[in-house]
């Protein structure tokens, strides 16, 4: 298996379209909440390449369910798409699904952009505002690199960053987290006086 990257909205659509077709062929249908680089590409918010599609949740009606592990039919279909396009076996993965444990930004589902991919797949791409929340959290939690680059590309306003900072502290209220958060906000020209106690 080669290591082919997902580098455009068209590629993202082609892969998810293929996944939708494979699911429909087997009489399956899923709705997925997707975040990360592929969601940013799909919405035209960034233009960097990524290796995978991060599944935040399986959407069941109004509920967002853990995507870990991916349902068998979904992972089988993903494996076929990986074979057909020469992708790594884990191109569709539930990496960020643990974010569900401590809650998503309020209104996440309503803001998400829904797109259908044939009869078998619907995807809720995290909105720009929610991506700012998730990317700020990832930058602080995991370090700069691609997350900070993405956050910069999203050009957040001060209000958006402060809302995101407030939400991210519900996931990690530690002093250490706050210290790093302060320095990231400073990078965007916001002093820590704006952060709540």
């Amino acid at each position: 298996m080669t290591d082919i990257s997902i580098d455009s909205a068209a590629t993202t659509s082609a892969l998810l379209g293929a996944l939708g077709e494979q699911l429909a062929t087997h009489g399956e249908r899923y709705t997925l909440a997707v975040v990360g680089g592929s969601a940013l590409l799909a919405l035209g918010l960034v233009s960097r390449a990524t290796r995978d599609v991060d599944v935040l949740a399986i959407v069941d009606g109004a509920e967002l369910l853990s995507a870990q592990p991916l349902p068998t039919a979904l992972s089988d279909a993903a494996r076929t798409v990986a074979r057909d396009f020469g992708l790594s076996a884990d191109w569709l993965n539930p990496g960020p699904t643990s974010l569900l444990d401590l809650g998503l930004p309020v209104g996440f589902e309503e803001r998400a952009q829904r797109r259908g991919f044939g009869q078998g797949l619907e995807v809720l791409f995290a909105s720009r505002v929610d991506q700012i929340h998730l990317k700020l959290y990832a930058t602080v939690d995991q370090g700069a690199g691609k997350h900070l680059t993405d956050l910069e590309a999203l050009a957040p306003t001060e209000r958006e960053l402060l809302d995101a900072a407030s939400w991210s502290q519900t996931h990690d209220p530690s002093e250490g987290y706050r210290n790093v958060l302060t320095s990231v906000l400073a990078h965007f020209g916001i002093d820590d006086g704006h952060l709540g106690v």
Binding site: M1, T2, A18, E21, Q22, T25, T80, D84, F85, G86
Partner: protein, 337 residues
């Protein structure tokens, strides 16, 4: 990718190949070439039952040929050549028809099967069926009543393609004739029992027993290398018995695998819903097909290519198909010697 053009072209080439093969084996037709190989009758019959659904006259003449030459055929091998339920169902129809036309036929269908719930049209062309053939209907196939043409002849035992029949006349219809056919024609100094089992369609244990008998009779030599038992035929002795000049025995082809894979590709390409599929899904299913047949392809020496794009999968299937057609002399290239 134009699936209907691919399917049509493949079907035409396979029909032409099949006519040419049978024309050299006693079916009423004019052969357009002399095949350099020894044919496998049962593999070709099961293959023809599918291919000739696009050529009703070939289908009907095959049944007539089977009626005339049924004593030279093995029903066990016919069943062993089937790769799926469609093969088994077409064969059941043919055997039911033979039983009706000749109640004492060796190739009778055995126990009565439960009538199928659905009946499919046998031929691809639209044929008005005012009087369905009951033997075919009992196996789930709709076609007009078939009466034998009585035009078929026994195969010419001197023709290279008919070596299998000649050996069956000498050794009887059974495993020994098949083992000797492979040993005499294969382009290798020796063969092991596992390869012979795949080539003949018999179980490895039965092949072992037959080889032990042939070896005891001194017409096949056996030798052990490591833990592997290897076998070879005394070709000069067999050439003398068969009246062949040195090195003029026909060549070998792995017919069960070659014709089995081609049949599966043809059947896949003729699925009605394939035309309405997206290019991607069609290519993905082409990849599924290549994976499902990879063991047989490897056995006949064709490595299934593995592209990493949907377009590549389709090209891979076309390439494999062309190599298979070349191996059976049905490509545009000259017949391989």
């Amino acid at each position: 990718m134009d699936i209907s053009a691919f399917s049509r072209r493949l079907s035409q080439r396979l029909v032409e190949f099949t006519w040419d093969e049978w024309a050299q084996m006693g079916l009423l037709a004019t052969p357009h070439r002399q095949s350099p190989w020894a044919q496998d009758p049962e593999a070709l019959i099961v293959f023809t039952l599918e291919v000739a659904r696009a050529e009703p006259r070939l289908f009907d003449e095959l049944l007539d040929w089977m009626l005339v030459n049924e004593a030279l055929l093995s029903v066990r091998r016919l069943r062993a050549m089937c790769v799926d339920e469609t093969d088994r169902s077409l064969l059941a129809a043919a055997l039911a028809w033979l039983s009706r036309e000749r109640p004492q036929a060796r190739l009778g269908n055995g126990a009565k099967a439960t009538p199928p719930a659905t009946v499919h049209r046998l031929f691809h062309s639209v044929i008005h069926v005012s009087e369905p053939d009951e033997a075919f209907a009992s196996a789930g196939w709709l076609r007009p009543t078939l009466s034998p043409s009585h035009k078929s002849q026994p195969p010419d035992p001197a023709a290279p393609i008919n070596l299998a029949f000649r050996l069956r006349q000498i050794l009887g219809v059974g495993i020994r004739a098949e083992v000797v056919r492979i040993l005499l024609t294969v382009q290798a100094p020796w063969v092991n029992a596992q390869t012979l089992a795949r080539s003949t369609g018999y179980a490895k244990r039965n092949v072992h027993d037959a080889l032990a008998g042939l070896s005891a009779a001194g017409v096949v030599s056996a030798f052990t290398v490591g833990s592997e038992q290897r076998y070879a035929a005394d070709r000069p002795a067999w050439e003398a018995l068969l009246g062949s000049k040195p090195d003029e025995l026909p060549v070998h082809r792995d017919w069960p695998q070659l014709l089995g894979v081609l049949r599966r590709i043809l059947r896949w390409s003729e699925q009605p819903d394939l035309a309405s599929m997206s290019d991607y899904l069609r290519a993905s299913q082409a990849r599924d097909l290549l994976e499902a047949t990879s063991s047989d392809l490897a056995f006949v020496g064709i490595a299934a290519p593995s592209s990493t794009s949907p377009d590549g999968s389709w090209r891979d299937l076309e390439e494999v198909c062309e190599r298979l057609l070349t191996a059976i002399g049905a490509a545009h290239a000259p017949v391989p010697q």
